[in-house]
Homo-oligomer: 223 residues x 2
């Protein structure tokens, strides 16, 4: 598709990313835009979950998606086809986004009129968790085929996230996945983490995620 | 388990990792040890594939496994229980291994008497592909639930690898996974890449991977 806007992100020039992330949050607060940073392994179903959300959020708020990838623009194309305003950020090999890189996307996208922007970060459980993007909340998706032990192996991701979505529950019976253990391991990393089980493919549980997003967006833009 | 040896890896002091990787390969050549670097997303089945290999390789060569993880020692425990000499490398938050970090593992493990060492790298499709570990060959595992589009999104991983293993073919029917497309996309990144389809869970195809490993180990230690 010719109409996908692709932004080539430059490396950050700011030494203190945490302060820079706070500045971006202040800007988003003033503009009444809720930024949600979505992180996961490759192939856990980030884009499919956003597609499922599109149906649930329709007519309820103005939103858009920033798709970050090292290469390729397939995700932004997919979201655009579903009628969701989207741009593709190319990180030029970088394994994560920081606050300045996120700001470049926000600026190019033009998000002032949006209530909600979801940033689909690079598929990677390690590096994205180390960099505050300036998002108001962080969420991670763990898909059933990846196994329930991931919170043990990627601790920072779970410590950083406000919400864990367990995706692909429709294939639970074909995998050795223990729902109680994943809750136990995730809470061990972060006792405050909220957990939603869903299947982006069948739609089961997606309304719970939509409710969580609507509630948190409202709290941010009205708070 | 108390008997898992855990090595805390230090950051590399060498400026030129490529030269350092060549030095490590020379050492391994002199010691007649084949080092295979295994990379993939979290949860694609690296450890399960190594367990399946253990049965196929038994009695055919002397081998061991270095399990790299940010935290936790569950993988080395699993391999030790299966009777495979293993150590756990903790990267202290680092998202990849370079040649010097690999050498620290090789040194602590004591691999001179081994024909084959498999390095299970940190679960991450981005950063590990950027650093030559000193391995003789690189392989990556892509599991069916991750989707056939991954070679489009993580080009360097596929350019770097000699072998692509497509794992979890036993659940192929439950996912929208196109075998022909994954071959096409992987070869687009790397026309020389070899591809093996298998299920570490059922054992289907694992003998082909064992044959590939035996052939390449023999070529290295006798070449």
């Amino acid at each position: 598709m010719d109409d996908v806007r692709v932004i080539q992100i430059k490396e950050s020039v700011f030494a203190d990313n945490n302060k820079d992330a706070d500045r971006l949050r202040e800007q988003l607060k003033a503009e009444k835009t809720f930024l949600l940073n979505l992180m996961s392994s490759p192939g856990s179903g980030k884009t499919t979950t956003l597609l499922a959300l599109a149906k649930e959020l329709e007519g309820k708020l103005k939103w858009g998606v920033m798709e970050a990838d090292i290469d390729s623009s397939v995700d932004a194309e997919t979201m655009l086809k579903a009628g969701v305003p989207s741009i593709q950020l190319h990180t030029g090999g970088m394994c994560h986004l920081d606050a300045d890189m996120t700001r470049q996307g926000i600026h190019e996208f033009g998000t002032k009129d949006l209530d909600l922007v979801i940033l689909e970060n690079v598929g990677n459980l390690v590096c994205p968790a180390e960099f505050d993007t300036g998002a108001v909340k962080n969420m991670t998706i763990l898909s059933v085929p990846e196994g329930h032990d991931k919170p043990l192996k990627y601790p920072l991701m779970y410590e950083t996230c406000d919400l864990l979505v367990v995706n692909k529950i429709d294939v639970m019976e074909y995998f050795d996945f223990d729902k109680e253990k994943v809750v136990e391991y995730a809470k061990r990393r972060n006792p405050e983490i909220e957990i939603i089980f869903l299947s982006a493919k069948t739609g089961e549980g997606v309304e719970k995620l939509a409710d969580w997003i609507l509630k948190n967006t409202k709290a941010w833009i009205e708070g």
